[in-house]
Amino acid sequence: MTEPTAPGAKEVWITGIGIVSSLGEGLDAHWDALNQKRINVDDKRFAPYIVHPLAPVSFDAQIPKKGDQRQMEAWQRIGTYAAGLALDSAGVKGNQEILGRMDMIVAAGGGERDIAVDLAIMNADAKGNSSPAFLNERLMNDLRPTLFLAQLSNLLAGNIAIVHGVSGTSRTFMGEEAASIDAARIALARIESGQSEIALVGAAHNGERPDLLILYEFGDFNLTEKYAPVWQRDDKGGFALGSAGCFLVMESREHAEARGAKPYARLTKVVADLAQRKQAGAVTKSLEALWPKLGVTGDTGNLITGATGVGPVTSEEKEFLRQHPGFAVRATGTMFGHTLETQFPLGLALAALSLSRGALFPPNDPTGLEVEKPGVPDQIVVLGAGHWQGEGMALVEAIK
């Protein structure tokens, strides 16, 4: 579906990055952690399942009102926090003139359950002592009224509007990993065409949720027993859920220059597709079809992937990577775990960060698939292939 970039298309810069994850918060902390090859996993709390827990964060720093924090569940706090970091990084925090017309596309899942309420109802049902009215009565009496708002997908965007004042357009895309690929794709298309000047794009994920572990366990997607880097997971594979929030400020070059903003990198292209994964090799084929649309200039380069580590998608992605042996690969899943909607923005953020620091961060992979890449990168490809559907790529370039 992606057309060649239209004549007269505006150049789009990434001028703000906000990250909070299991490795900490902010750009310096992440750059240091990546260079030190730090990994933060918890294999006890949900044993035998493994998660990458959120690093300690003082939410007050970006969400000053306790009342606001109480109205949110963890995924919304993580996202609202990361959005604040991105706005700070872009130098637009508190600038009501810009925030009032800033467009927002959030990729979101849904909110936490009240686990105690769920368990009480399920146990009563399993004991056979639930009357027809039982479910209604328990829900009416036990659900907190405000929990609904912490569950609604579009209320992460709602909270970002309330806490930070981002109040141009507000759109929430859903659909796991693909949602954020499309969020970046649509935001880029809107700015390139002049439909938007500046946008906040990102996602948040709380990986420390038993209800999510159950949801992914239905499909046998969870990594259990022992942590392993993404490329070292066996054929069955699996992902370790990670907690992270990541937001980017994107704007037209003219808009950035007019306000004297310094760019991290240029977002040149985002392409996406949805292969019906009914036959082996469908993902490899889908990625191969997207590749020529990206505009990568050579046979060598850098690639940051959100590879989940689950089969068969990750082996099919490996097959694709084997066709492009000149590209130095980094899998964010090894360090951050799988953060679903957040994985693609995280890849974009780390690409922009690497380009702005003039180096690709080191490999973190005992299998040798990831190799050292000395030198100053000028292009980084970001790749996302969802655990069950959705494929996409972006090209992020250095601004010299």
Binding site: G110, L135, M174, A178
Partner: protein, 434 residues
């Protein structure tokens, strides 16, 4: 960015801003009133209500016991997400048949789907609980029985992207399908995304669908706990009272709306019948509160003004408003106050109506369902009534189309949608390209 075709001899049909004109060439709708435009229009203009007492599940202990459920469609296994998908398919098939575009399972453009957030539902959760084989269990016990393939269908069903994925496969839409939620404005947002894609030249056609089949116990309870629902359960048909003094909340409902959007140029080139024009879209976020509008109404006022500006129209050129009109005390008052600011002296000349008085609030689908009804209003030059309008609210001075349909000259309709999370979106629909 005005581009010419045929070597510059002829200009493509563009709006006054030089953008491709976006037309509608196919529409489909399902509500509690029935499946299809014909049944819906007949019953809508007859002032019939689709609201009834819920029979799908026990209503004991609930404060609100009525809804606009679509009971003539059932899915097995039972789930709101499954019903949501089925309603979307019914509306989409009607729209595609009318548009007669592309081949079978080969729609020549992207899909934008407004859909309610998806989560594991109670029938499935209880099924899992019963599979554990003991009592006094915890989440660890649930996890122990969740894997191994026994419940793999639950994974696919309860992924947020599942409905869009199935629609994309069935109808052969191109590229990555987008599922979106802007709460009660979702249907309008889906249309807006389609309009933007065509205006950018990214696509010549877009399939915009909005669907909601989520009347289930927990959804009713959640809205009930926020005091958003009417509790005037008896008789259920009289519960939804937009603009009335004795209104007390909205009535949950199900439905779907689908639209095939095309560039005017592309529609003309294939000789398609043009049903109407999406002349303008606008959106402005309210950052005041999670469920309440800013007391000064500025975001809603700004949203309507942006929409007028996007359509290149003056307030005086709007001759009907298809209101959001949920019948909550707050919405209807706020909608009147803000509309009065935008339309000023012209407001008394604009007949206003709320379809929700008859079909209830179809939540994620409402923006698209009401856009379809707005285009049918333009086609038939007849405005569906706001029923249950017996005790006018003296603070709401709209010219409400009260209780009976009204014939009127209608050339441009504004359709409004406002949602939780500060979501405001408006559309302007016209009969002919300007």
């Amino acid at each position: 960015m005005r581009r010419s075709i045929d070597g510059g001899n002829m200009s493509a049909p563009r709006d006054k801003f030089g953008r491709p004109i976006v037309v509608v060439t196919g529409m489909g709708v399902v509500t509690s009133l029935g499946a299809g435009k014909k049944d819906n229009w007949t019953r809508l203009t007859a002032g019939e209500s689709g609201i009834r007492t819920v029979t799908r599940f026990p209503i004991d202990g609930l404060k609100s016991t009525m809804a606009g459920t679509v009971d003539f469609v059932s899915v097995d296994p039972v789930s709101s997400t499954g019903l949501t998908e089925q309603l979307a398919k019914l509306a989409t098939e009607e729209a595609l048949e009318q548009a007669a575009i592309g081949g079978k399972a080969d729609f020549p453009g992207p899909l934008f789907l407004a859909v309610a957030p998806v989560e594991v539902e109670w029938p499935q959760r209880l099924e899992l609980g019963r599979a554990i084989g003991k009592t006094d269990f915890g989440y660890e016990d649930m996890l122990r029985v969740s894997g191994g393939g026994r419940f793999s269908a639950f994974h696919h069903r309860f992924m947020f992207g599942s409905v869009a994925s199935h629609l994309a496969e069935t109808y052969g839409t191109k590229g990555s399908p987008i599922s979106l939620s802007t709460a009660c404005a979702s249907g309008a947002t889906a249309i807006q995304l389609g309009v933007e894609a065509i205006r950018r030249g990214d696509a010549d056609a877009a399939l915009c669908v909005a669907t909601d089949g989520s009347v289930n116990p927990e959804a009713l309870v959640r809205f009930s706990l926020l005091s958003a629902l009417s509790t005037q359960n008896d008789p259920p048909q009289a519960a939804s009272k937009p603009f009335s003094k004795n209104r007390d909340g909205f009535v949950m409902a199900e439905g779907a709306g689908a639209m095939v959007l095309e560039s005017y140029e592309s529609a003309m080139a294939r000789g398609a019948r043009i049903l109407g024009v999406v002349a303008g879209c606008g959106e402005l976020t309210d950052s005041f509160h999670r469920t309440r509008s800013s007391p000064d109404g500025k975001p809603i006022i700004g949203c309507m003004r942006k929409t007028l500006a996007d359509a290149g129209l003056e307030p005086e050129q709007i001759d009907h408003i298809n209101a959001h009109g949920t019948a909550t005390p707050e919405n209807d008052k706020m909608e009147y106050n803000t509309t009065a600011v935008v339309f000023g002296d012209h407001l008394p000349k604009i007949p206003v109506s709320s379809n929700k008085s008859m079909v209830g609030h179809t939540i994620s689908a409402a923006g698209a369902v009401e856009a379809v009804f707005s285009l049918l209003t333009l086609e038939h030059q007849r405005i569906p009534p706001t029923i249950n309008y017996e005790v006018p609210d003296p603070a709401i001075l709209f010219d409400v189309v009260a209780n009976q349909a009204r014939d009127a000259r209608v050339t441009a309709v504004m359709s409004n949608s406002f949602g939780f999370g500060g979501q405001n979106a408006s559309l302007i629909l016209t009969r002919e390209p300007a």
